[in-house]
Subunit: 265 residues, 2 copies
């Protein structure tokens, strides 16, 4: 089942995506709801980020291939110090944008890259759940682009602007509730060309361990989202680019890239 959040004119609701159409959902996907007969062509609605989370979590350096890539590209000492440690962090809800919304590059960010990732969407309050029980607290999965500044921002020591600048958190296009999260491909395309392809089977901390791990100390709430890490190589973004994160079985998250100051760099 594909659950979206959408705006039709001035009006917001959840919706059930069926092929090229979306049926309006009355109520909340985190509580009581009914699927109405009213439907719209997908191309006529604005897809919003699929939830409005209280917290936007991320787990970084969660695939061996990505760690190896980052060691070569960035500060190898920092990467080796952090790799493998279960260290969830807050990307910050303020940076979330939806499908088709522009990623805006601030002029101060001299290098920004994409990171295509699988996202866990929490369905029920979770506190001290075991990895074995974690699946019952997950509503489904979506795609995200963990847009990240490196270069002069790589030594920021917290990800506040490096990964949390406004628009650096594209999420969508919708939540898929019926996939095995550890048997998915993540394909990243830049301007239509495939740049990276990886499998979620390679996660170091899998989705259930991640939900369980965070929930040991911090309650997860319905609608909270968790990035699970980029599987492989990454490439820089420039104004005019279009970046797509496709997870077959879920969907494709597409975002254009623009410069905040209108420049082209």
């Amino acid at each position: 089942m594909k659950l979206a959040r959408l705006r039709i004119g001035e009006w917001e609701s959840y919706g059930l995506v069926e092929g090229e159409r979306v049926r309006v959902i009355q109520g909340s996907i985190f509580g009581e709801y009914a699927i109405s007969e009213a439907s719209y062509p997908l191309e006529r609605v604005k897809l919003l980020p699929p939830t409005r989370p209280t917290s936007f979590w991320a787990v970084g350096l969660n695939y061996a291939a990505h760690i190896a890539h980052q060691e070569r590209a960035l500060d190898a000492e920092r990467i080796r110090r952090e790799a493998g440690v279960f260290r969830p962090w807050h990307k910050g809800v303020g940076c979330i944008i939806g499908h088709n919304d522009p990623i805006v590059l601030p002029p101060e960010a001299d290098y920004v890259h994409y990171e295509g990732e699988l996202v866990i969407v929490i369905g029920r309050p979770a506190r001290r759940v075991t990895p074995e029980d974690a699946r019952h607290f997950i509503l489904g999965y979506t795609c995200a682009n963990d847009v990240s500044g490196e270069g002069s921002w790589s030594k920021d020591m917290s990800n506040w602007r490096r990964k949390g600048s406004d628009t650096f958190g594209p999420v969508g296009p919708w939540i898929e509730t019926e996939v095995d999260p550890h048997r998915l491909e993540i394909i990243t395309r830049l301007n239509g060309r495939e740049h990276d392809r990886g499998s979620t089977s390679g996660m170091i901390h899998d989705c259930y361990a991640t939900v369980s791990g965070i929930s040991q100390f911090v309650t997860l709430h319905p609608g909270d989202i968790i990035l699970t890490g980029a599987p492989g190589a990454v490439e820089p973004l420039h104004p005019g680019d279009v970046v797509e994160i496709e997870i077959p079985g879920i969907g494709t998250l597409r975002n254009p890239v623009v410069a905040e100051d209108g420049g082209t760099r």
Copy 2:
């Protein structure tokens, strides 16, 4: 003006604190509101955390005396590497509790201390504001306890559980809108005994620089709160303790400390 958020029976609202009574506010303190004639004794209402922020920010190591204390007490190399750098981070909204709510120590945290701090409350959306203009985007100030785990948690490399575990974010008791934030004393008491006293005049990054700095890359929203750092020494918390953060001119935030497993340690 002292603005509180309160619960009376099953009903939540904002309120204006006047001496020992609170007058009910109709509407939102971040939009249109009216102060009604209905009032209650303060002791009869439950004070809630004064806002429901989209983001709970913090700026650490923001006073020379606190940096010196932490260098002696903790990992001196890490403290020196991070001190002085403008490095806001997300404490996480999930840990917020209000006045009189218990701080709950997880059994896994072998050392937890208090940090009494001044809190900035954002009043209007702020993006790319200058330090000179920042005061116009601030609604007021309140008190917080930046409860922090060290010991075996001090090498977590993100503050997710060290400073973000459930209940580690007491905030309140209310927002004061008419104080000079850089001429305030912060007094911390443990079980009635004063343990630390510092002045906000010693901030490295003052409140206006902090709001301006974050807003360069991340939009601040009405109700967002920002911790501004502990001024001096800190002491560990144990089950049965009562910790108070008093900022004369604002008020006193008081919280009891309990063990999650009911133990006394």
